[in-house]
Symmetry: D2
């Protein structure tokens, strides 16, 4: 269960403080140009240490592409890659190895496997998502060349919500601030909420909204492979994600049918569109051509900078002193991960739906 996707299949590996993270992407269409510099920048958006709001772990997250690309084009063969872990502190984790931290995966990992790599959360660390960024970046480039763009942004930090709809935001401004909310005023209040939580040795949750534009109608499936389910699975596989909604989501549960109709219309060019988008671009599990909208809720980081009462692996009560390097809020760093998982899930669906045109016309330079 370290593979995501049916056709564009991403398999990741790696523990937080192991030698390296990495992955293999199988099912890559041949003859696709890959911009490796852009890919490195894409991956770097997730890495730690980018602002005062995030953890101090120092990782360059340099991607080594090992196969599947030749003279700048994909070969159709699997793309293997690794990202070395450089800032490894194995000895930091002796105490943790003997305890079960609350709200962490320590206990459940031992219950599952009977063994655990205690260094930085092992396989359960969000560091694993670095390996997904590579696949997300490659998927993203293929989608973008077909007019499909994916933009996520921080839409809530604790009680601070971005009240404007995405259509009223400048989505090109997401990276203008450290919290990754394109509304500057809201971003400032979000940053303050994070700093306040950090100042109190606490952490804080939040939400990310993801907008996909340009997806053609007819991608997805009517039963188990509904686009809702694929995106839901993609998002809920991200560390700390605890809820996902499509379109108006929970508002739909409170609504009358007559209030949430997405009427069909025909454009001057003859295209069928919907003039409202309560459905979030997905009807009957299949895209309808409108923007796809997904929102994801993230719980607060489990590691507080306070003494925590818990138990050790023998069941004895212990108090853990605060230590290590941790984000007070993961949400800003989750923004590129949400985009990456959306890109992987949607490229996979696009390939399965026969709406993907392969690149036969381009010659090898």
């Amino acid at each position: 269960m370290n593979t995501f996707g049916q056709i564009f299949r991403v398999t990741t590996f790696g523990e937080s403080h192991g030698v390296a993270l990495g992955g293999v992407i199988d099912g890559v269409p041949p003859r696709e140009p890959i911009d490796t510099d852009a890919l490195q920048r894409y991956v770097a958006r997730r890495r730690p240490g980018q602002s005062s709001l995030t953890t101090a772990r120092n990782e360059s997250d340099t991607v080594e592409l090992l196969s599947g690309i030749y003279h700048g084009l994909t070969l159709g063969t699997p793309i293997g890659y690794i990202i070395r872990n450089s800032d490894r502190h194995s000895d930091d984790y002796d105490a943790i190895a003997r305890c079960y931290r609350p709200n962490h995966a320590d206990y459940t990992t031992e219950a599952r496997y009977g063994i655990r790599d205690p260094r930085g959360g092992g396989r359960s660390s969000a560091r694993e998502t670095a390996a997904r960024m590579v696949a997300g970046g490659i998927a993203s480039q293929m989608l973008a060349r077909r007019g499909i763009t994916i933009t996520a942004y921080t839409s809530a930090i604790g009680p601070v919500r971005c009240e404007k709809p995405y259509t009223a935001l400048d989505l090109s401004a997401v990276d203008n601030n450290a919290v990754r909310c394109p509304d500057a005023d809201t971003a400032a209040r979000m940053a303050a909420a994070i700093e306040q939580a950090r100042g109190e040795g606490d952490t804080i949750g939040g939400a990310v909204t993801c907008v996909v534009s340009g997806m053609p109608a007819g991608v997805g499936n009517p039963v188990f492979g509904k686009l809702n389910a694929l995106l839901g699975s993609a998002m809920l596989s991200i560390n700390a994600a605890k809820a996902v909604e499509v379109g108006d989501g929970w508002e739909l549960a409170r609504a009358r049918g007559s209030e949430v109709i997405d009427p069909f219309a025909v454009t001057a060019g003859g295209d069928i569109i919907t003039t409202a988008n309560h459905s979030g671009g997905i009807q009957g599990g299949i895209s309808n051509g409108n923007d796809i909208i997904v929102r994801v809720a993230f719980k607060p980081v489990a590691t507080l900078m306070r003494p925590i009462d818990t138990i050790d692996t023998e069941g004895n009560a212990v108090t853990l002193a605060p230590r290590g390097r941790h984000d007070a809020c993961v949400v800003p760093r989750a923004v590129p991960i949400v985009e990456a998982m959306a890109a992987i899930a949607l490229l996979d669906s696009l390939l399965a739906s026969n709406k993907f045109t392969t690149n036969n016309g381009e010659t090898i330079q």
Copy 2:
């Protein structure tokens, strides 16, 4: 993409007004007793026409088991089954065949496949879930024999919410009323909300809460196969589901870390437990032994009993007259479907996690 599961794999087939629905369940452990009468009752909970709140389509949903069971025990071979469609009205659907109803799958299905069975929504009809009920019922029996029980109930209808936590409810009382909310007062207000919507030719959304008790710690996976993601995918594959949350869900996005700690403790019997359950029984994607809590939001039924303006398949404006047989609210009937999908997903995870003890001790009668 008509298969769900990795080990306990359910594949369904069938259109709403075709000859029959059905499915194959592969990966069934051998030597499991199956109570076919209980299975038929389990399937029947989903069928239409059970109360004045639901559609008038008359289907007995009689399950024909065709293979995989011998003398009351599973053989380890696939269980094939069919459910005949008896109340078929193919000619009712001529008008629909030439239109795209808003918020339905008509347009997206044609965009996906270039062809559509217009009779009752074809493959996109919620009738397909009858086939899932059989697999859910079989999974449910296997889980129950291992002390794992799954109970869902209607926790919201439009603005009417069941404010009591599930721990304050009598979960054995779910079927005491037609809306399937175990709190009688809330149930009455929910029923009134549905009747009011119906009286106005309208429909109404709602939510289902699902509680899983008895799941051992250590089931699930740390990365893509997180239990959150598997349950999310299961729930968002149900017709009309648009949001899913685990544990405190969206509340976690608004919370501080210090507010949502699930402290570990050790029982007198030496078992490790958590004394709170903000995580909803899942930490790091793996069960921790506490109750698993999932909530699912359902949009209002798309078919209103009012004239609806839309377009035909040529793009011309048309007005559809209200007709056919439709629920004003699907949520009560979604309750057993939520249970069935939870049972399928959790049995599959249990089998993958090596916490499943096969039935070697029982002899064939």
Copy 3:
């Protein structure tokens, strides 16, 4: 493991003397015409009781198509189907239920599952292949409409071999005789060999050669999904198959490289071809446009019409009296099964290779 294929996925179910056999075919391209009469004839080629050479079990093998086809065209949704077992003799099998017949699956099935349906071999009966014929027939129609034809024939019965190469045979004459060898003289000698074995209460093995014409170059995969491996897996999943070879097969193991070159040439029309075909149409795991040649060896039927010494399930020595209805040689009936499995495997590979053109131009009548 009752599913075959990655995109065109066939899942079968059913025991030999259960209620019905059946299956689901998922991943069927939409808008494909299906000739159901031709499909029934295709399935019937495998059924028993067609000549004096085969078993007397009386089964019409009538296919009931339950879903996935509308007005003669595939919908893109799964095709479910069943074949009822009519000639069931459950009580014939009491003695077998208490014994392990040599060279049968009785003992291994119990070792695997701890339980067994003793009626006619249960799931291990070759009767299961009736369900594959439906999928093979549907695949075959899709391939034929794209110019790809599959013909198998009996190329050996015991020591009697068809010495002529397939290029010297009239492949349209396969069904002219009961052994399904297109060379009449050889067929007569094969029939005599079968009759002689039967007369001695014995059984006899043989081989089937399968020729695929019209497959475009570029279908298959370079590593695990090599066409050799996919066809090998398809053929070795047929009951009683114990060996498979591609192209010159074992002759290649004995050869020098210089003796088995398949030189490239260019036709007047500019097509690249190979002027010899030692490789059997597959190079590097991928089709090269030449005929694909596969040969399969079948062991003799395990059930002799003689008393057999064996053990019962308690380990006691027993002698089984000859009984029941059994072929003295399965090879003639294996011919259509080989074709069906080749059709399934090759359509699946074709769909994965993007050489399959979907049927967009045809309208629904």
Copy 4:
């Protein structure tokens, strides 16, 4: 299609002259001791340059294990690994890039993908099998700790066959000579046959026999996942393999049923055994506890050390001068690859069959 296995899933990547080969093994049971020195030796058995009989390419095939193992035990998380390509000669391949060599994958790869890495055959090079050796070595260690051993040997080189049955051979002597035939006299004649072919600028085919001892009864599946089919697929996925047979294989096609009975018997210890093994340890697709026997035929190496007439990618006739570094016979080097693929396929089947006991008793040092 670069993944093999259902539970123990191996995904490989890498081109012959790319940066590195590698892979990910998912589904590894936790708490399994891995001897990394033994693993390196296992991998090294396949590498080139080990004797005068094989190619001169100089590769150390040093395995870098990147994840999934902690303090010598598996974590249950995926094992990622790479093997760097050190002896890369990209510029050697300019001529090949413009030609289609006969019996190579050059043409079929371009037909499949529209692009090709010409350096050393790219993904189609047998160098890819180095990545499989790592998975095979890990699987092999797990099997050996459960008493299951796998030994392959060269059983034919061109016309020279090892006539003794495996039971008359000392299987521990396989590596005593460069051809890997445990019968010294036969080995000498095989070596002579290879040297003679090489001396004439030619190549030569051959066969490998693989013997698996200690496999418990009850592993495999009755229909598509027959052990015959899984092993067949594993073997036919090896470069140059063109035929595979199980047990007596093609001899069974020529036999009478009465000649090839494997009678059951009961040992003094009460175990059920078969006293003959025509079936090669597999009946009804499931292991019966006897030795599993598989034989694989390999075609001669396609690259002769002679001028070869062929066409270029424009269809013009060209003559390729002999060049590069190539084995005159791959069979000796195929021996460990056959073992590795058998180990992967059989561990996967064992895990699926619930006959695998996990390692709960061993503590972490």
